[in-house]
């Protein structure tokens, strides 16, 4: 059904689950953490976030290429916080989002523990942004795009070298017109932590709340601008979108542009390195006449 294209087989990409479980068990037993946030098999071939609080829950933990939802969003949820300190089964995109959050004062040192597997299958236990920044580059899967999220190749209007602006416009117009403004993209995004999103502020109402064409376009442009230089490309937005809009493509495009132009990549350091809050006297300005 709906998920056939967006979600792939559920093929296991992690073979060292037992090591992760073992470390998680130790953390629970020692009382270092009260909950392990990870993924488990869900209903109808889906995966779901999973909150293991007892050692026996840990058997259910899995990690495979369906695990796109970025668990970092739970670190800001009051009900999850109320469970106590958490250890999170970490994928590279999640760790990048933690770094970016730390840079933006939204992850406090040792607020949680992150369990990641290095390429040798060893479990790394990370809690400070410095630790994460130190190991991130060496983690398997830390570069490149996750296979599950839509890629531009499948969309002719966006394929590299396409100069047909109108085709791009038509493509995105059609995509955005399906948007029903459920804001699942926002809810699933670790960087969308704002208590009151721009679309929710109405004095003035910058972005129309109505899900009509212009409102949707402005919403998605705005969201892309807000994530420019901050998006870690986890793909959770596209994954969450019930209308299947390939939102991550927009964010990924801007991330690539920013990296090309300014050499900046979000979520690689705990120090704020935001492309839009710094500048260089020699920034290109060929478009300014």
């Amino acid at each position: 059904m709906a998920e056939t294209v967006r979600r792939t087989s559920g093929q296991t990409v992690v073979n060292d689950m037992e090591a992760l479980r073992q470390r998680a068990r130790e953390l629970l037993d020692a009382g270092t953490v009260q909950v392990i946030i990870g993924y488990a098999n869900g209903s109808n071939r889906r995966v779901r976030p999973f909150f293991a609080r007892r050692p026996e829950d840990l058997e259910r933990l899995i990690l495979d290429d369906r695990c796109v939802l970025n668990l970092a969003v739970y670190l800001r949820k009051p009900e999850v916080k109320a469970l106590g300190k958490a250890a999170v089964i970490a994928t590279p995109p999640l760790l990048r989002s933690i770094l970016q959050l730390a840079a933006e004062n939204h992850y406090q040192e040792s607020e949680a523990v992150f369990l990641a597997l290095d390429s040798a299958g060893n479990v790394l236990e990370l809690s400070s942004a410095e630790q994460i920044a130190g190991v991130l580059g060496s983690l398997p899967g830390s570069t490149g795009q996750d296979a599950c999220v839509p890629s531009a190749d499948r969309m002719p209007a966006l394929s590299a070298g396409s100069t047909d602006r109108q085709a791009r416009f038509a493509f995105w117009k059609q995509e955005f017109e399906r948007c029903i403004r459920c804001y699942a993209c926002r809810a699933a995004c670790p960087m969308c932590y704002c208590e009151q999103c721009l679309v929710d502020s109405n004095q003035p109402q910058w972005i129309p709340v109505a899900a009509h064409s212009i409102g949707n376009l402005e919403w998605h442009i705005s969201r892309a601008m807000h994530l420019a230089g901050r998006c870690v490309n986890c793909g959770a937005c596209s994954e969450a979108c019930p209308a299947g809009i390939p939102l991550n493509l927009v964010n990924q495009f801007l991330a690539d542009r920013i990296q090309q132009e300014f050499g900046q990549k979000a979520g690689t350091s705990a120090k704020l390195d935001y492309a839009l809050s710094v500048f260089s006297g020699s920034d290109r300005e060929t478009f300014i006449k």
Binding site: R168, F169, S213, G215, I221, S222, R284, I288, K289
Partner: protein, 149 residues
């Protein structure tokens, strides 16, 4: 049939371009009437949302202008703006929005003639591109209406 008169909204900084446009006036240079200037303190203040709002207010073209690099009254506002515009412009282009309709320019307080030139060339360019119906057709689209008036 009369010539298409584009609607152009300009966002300018107070210290350079606004003053430059004043100079155009005091020099009595003539330029196309199509532009409506909105004054901001600095290009750093010019939010990308304003450009979007200009289009959804039916603008066929937008001018964004401020101090030359190095001349910012607030030292760095225009540098920040330049980066923001670069990103914004890339985004618009990726989404297929016609970036030729957004003219970015540096116009100093001494460049009265340049302001006239910026307005005139922008008006000519937009005239050549025609009304931005592609975008304006989005306005009101997606609303079910069933009133009979």
């Amino acid at each position: 049939m009369s010539e298409f008169e584009p609607k152009i909204i300009a966002f300018v900084c107070n210290w350079c371009t606004y003053a430059g446009a004043d100079l155009t006036g005091t020099s009595r240079m003539k330029y196309a009437h199509n532009v409506r200037v909105i004054r901001t303190p600095c290009t750093g203040r010019i939010d990308y949302m304003l450009i979007l709002k200009a289009f959804s207010a039916g603008a066929d073209g937008v001018i964004v202008s401020g101090c030359h690099p190095g001349d910012c009254h607030y030292t760095s506002g225009n540098y920040h703006a330049r980066r923001r515009w670069m990103v914004f412009r890339s985004l618009l282009d990726f989404l297929g929005i016609d970036v030729e309709r957004v003219r970015f320019a540096w116009v100093s307080a001494a460049e009265g003639a340049k302001w006239a030139e910026v307005v005139n060339t922008t008006v000519a360019d937009i005239r050549r591109l025609g009304p931005y119906t592609e975008y304006q057709n989005l306005i009101g689209r997606g609303v079910e209406r069933s009133f009979q008036v």
